[in-house]
Subunit: 252 residues, 2 copies
């Protein structure tokens, strides 16, 4: 009999941010194919006698190309194994989960998808930056800063530069300079607040705050190398405003 | 001593989509203030001898106004209780979690925020619709269809009508007709695929698929009354394409 394939989001890194369902499935799995972004603490929670197969990817480098991952998943399912494909964050937010679902379906295998806490939500909660806010952001947009061959990310800059929204850029550290430039060219004010969060929800989480015009120097000054998330918009200044408020109250 | 306040996302409804951390915190809480959107199965997981206080909100109706919720949280924390504020989905995606963090902070209470699976991710996984996809959607935007006093939602229609993205509308059933009209006026093709998902991840989940031009009749034909989520963009047609593919293969 063909085994089940579960495409499972592992969340942003803190093992306590696994869902109960993800926890159950990695305990039941015979084999787990995992990304490099999945934290070691989470891999420790996999059933002890399950096979663990790293398949990528770390900072854009693939251990196994996407087609190869599909073949591995299909082969394991056809051996009747209980297969978990464990992905950082959520499988359907820049996770290529859709391609894996399609490939499995074409092979006659119906995949089950388990959502995970995407790093946008994990970082926002950790830094206490609401992604939407009645007064500051009526919408939130997720994009990726990844660019083919070191070029310019293929993004709709005018749409991202519009006011009253929050823009979250995944994998945006490598192209931060270009992102800052393109957004300002498209009309985003240079003093728009930005937060940069590396390893969000993990013990080594680093945060930097600044303005979009200074994005590159903010990242450099804080020694952030990525993978990190950019949160752009008025909500990114809220913690500093709150700190000022608290200081003013203390001095009053 | 002032108690801790944890603002906790309860996820989209399936109790197995609670995070391990949310599960631990509702087991440790002395008092839980919860929204009507939190499912009964999840409330059953709260520590048996904890107080459970419903504070809203159900389809726009507030049991307790937002300021009143802030007062209740602050008072409970000052009594030294371990307080959980349990919210449907994620606290920072249309959850007013930011306002609660601010109110607590102004009262000198530092809140801890635990992210949850937002219903956008829950519904997408359940219906196997990737929110981003290399070939179809380079970004995803979350907006709310809620409008003040039955009017038009305050949204940036031209930005939402642009191609190569997925737009997820929370609470969009009540204003579906206006949303369909405004998006088409702004240039979105009438045959853009849309999925409507009610009670996503729950046992009574309902899905409807169609085109943006027919949104109202699709919702009516399927008997969807909300709360439901709209997923607009090419990704919303993927399951039907896949079904066609499977049928074609079966007939070949």
């Amino acid at each position: 009999p063909v085994g089940a394939v579960h495409i499972v989001g592992a969340g942003p890194g803190d093992p306590e941010l696994l869902t109960l369902k993800a926890f159950r499935l990695i305990q039941q799995a015979d084999i787990v194919f995992y990304d490099k972004l999945v934290s070691p603490e989470i891999l420790d929670m996999v059933r002890r006698d399950a096979e663990r197969v790293p398949v990528g990817k770390s900072k854009g480098e693939h251990l196994v190309p996407q087609d190869g991952i599909h073949e591995l998943l299909i082969a394991a399912a056809r051996e009747g194994k209980r297969v978990v494909r464990l992905k950082g964050g959520d499988p359907f937010i820049f996770g290529r989960g859709g391609e894996e679902v399609d490939a499995l379906r074409e092979a006659g295998i119906e995949a089950d998808v388990v959502p995970g806490i995407t790093s946008a939500l994990g970082c926002a909660a950790s830094a206490r930056l609401p992604l939407t806010h009645r007064d500051h952001a009526q919408s939130v947009t997720f994009v990726t800063g990844h660019a083919q061959k070191g070029g310019v990310p293929d993004l709709d800059w005018p749409a991202l530069a519009r006011p009253h929204q929050t823009v979250v850029v995944f994998m945006g550290v490598g192209t931060a300079g270009i992102i800052s430039e393109k957004l300002r060219e498209a009309g985003l004010p240079g003093d728009t607040p930005v937060a940069v969060i590396e390893n969000g929800t993990r013990e080594n989480e680093k945060r930097a705050f600044g303005q979009i015009a200074d994005l590159s120097s903010v990242i450099e000054a804080r020694g952030i190398k990525g993978p990190a998330l950019l949160i752009i918009g008025a909500v990114a200044s809220l913690p500093r405003e709150a700190q000022t408020l608290i200081i003013e109250k203390a001095l009053a």
